[in-house]
Symmetry: C2
Subunit: 227 residues, 2 copies
DNA sequence: CTGTCCATAATGTTGAACAATCTTTCCTGT
DNA sequence: ACAGGAAAGATTGTTCAACATTATGGACAG
């Protein structure tokens, strides 16, 4: 009789792995600002909201904690990571080290250059439309493309993580226009040098841009945590 | 009555998180060669052997897969990662990029230099005693210390992962003496330059050492997968 | 020998249970 | 009134058992 009936009903098998999909959704929630830095993520609440079991959610937490966008405290659960000054310093130290080196050793006709160009165009478009969050995304894509010049899958995915953490920092800051607008033209200038084959010059420009951006963001950060 | 009696008995609570401990044990199994590249890790078998539940083990699998020492295939489970030629290329590309840059921008009296010195001494000691696996460990520690010159926690832990993958490669190769012996003296020479404050010189030496090591290991690898 | 079907085993995912730990509340004694 | 502490409640850590889904291996037919 009804004893054999199955009550739990995952009607359709997972096309992709469930945990990966959930991880994507949480990443997006963090980037979009739906989840704020420092916020506590309750296992029961989130598992109900996302319609997954606690076990699956915990697998996701492990992933995202390793990625650095969540923080884990024993017996207290996970929280959205709260970037600090030292986070910003660390991120920009890494950006200068990796991006400049990748750029300096780039070569003409590398497929990543096309992606850089596309990102610059997307950024200009988004700027005209006033979509500052999209400008930020395009800026991220541009710098991810720079790292792809190094032709290293491991380096690229590591750098993607770093850029994701940077987006967390951006989320903390106000005034996205003031924040993202200057980068559009800088990226454009970088791309011009790259297309001329002047990779060394481009790398030097990038280094100074990044130093400048770091100071800029540190200031905005200091302003944000006070006001 | 006995209904309330508890049958499951984890008598003592976890001092540290169980999953982290299990992850350490599996990492060690991989590094020590107890688990070989390509080997399939059964969830039931391993969870029984390590005395943890399947769920906990799956959390660990997620971690180690992200670290790159395990590989996940949908509906087929996890396997110990099998380094390929392109893995070696990728690893050494990253090593040259990160290590040389970190070394070039190092400065005297940095605490990491003491760690480099300690690693060199440990390596010499281990070599005299013929403990080639320890020589390998010391070599790893030496290069991890170089990266710590960059003072970036994120970069250091990323690089630790890369070096762990490299150990996987070593596990694939025969003749650890032939493999590790040359590095001891090279590291010694590097350290001498660093202690003299010649960071630029050291960085250039390191670059050529790494190029040399890459060729060396590629050859050993090619020999290993054939014979 | 090759392709199909079925039994078997593995993974993917869930829900419930309980132990350990943290948090809040409330009581008590001074 | 208030500091200290015990009890109650909520949350995480971990396990287990169940079941759906997907691979694997073998028997069998052509």
């Amino acid at each position: 009789m009804a004893l054999i009936e199955n009550t739990t009903a995952p009607v359709s098998g997972p096309a992709q792995l469930l945990a990966e999909m959930v991880a994507d959704r949480i990443r997006q929630k963090v980037v979009s600002g739906e989840l704020s830095p420092g916020e506590h993520l309750s296992e029961v609440a989130l598992s109900e909201e996302l319609q997954v079991s606690r076990n699956t959610l915990r697998e996701v937490f492990r992933l995202l904690t390793k990625e650095g966008i969540l923080r884990h405290e024993a017996n207290r659960g996970v929280f959205v990571a709260t970037p600090s000054i030292s986070t910003i310093i660390d991120i920009y130290r890494i950006r200068r080290l990796i991006e400049c080196q990748a750029l300096a050793e780039g070569y003409p006709n590398h497929p990543a250059i096309a992606r850089m160009k596309k990102a610059v165009e997307a950024a200009r478009q988004a700027r005209e439309e006033g979509k500052w969050l999209s400008v930020g995304s395009a800026d991220i894509a541009f710098h991810a493309a720079i790292v792809e010049l190094a032709d290293s899958s491991r380096l690229s995915s590591f750098f993607a993580q770093i850029l994701l953490e940077l987006r967390l920092v951006f989320g903390l800051l106000q005034d996205p226009e003031y924040l993202h607008a200057p980068f559009v033209d800088q990226n454009q200038k970088l791309l011009e040098q790259v297309e001329l084959g002047n990779f060394r010059t481009a790398a030097e420009m990038l280094d100074s841009y990044l130093l400048q951006a770091e100071r800029f963001i540190m200031l905005a950060y200091a302003r944000a945590i006070e006001g």
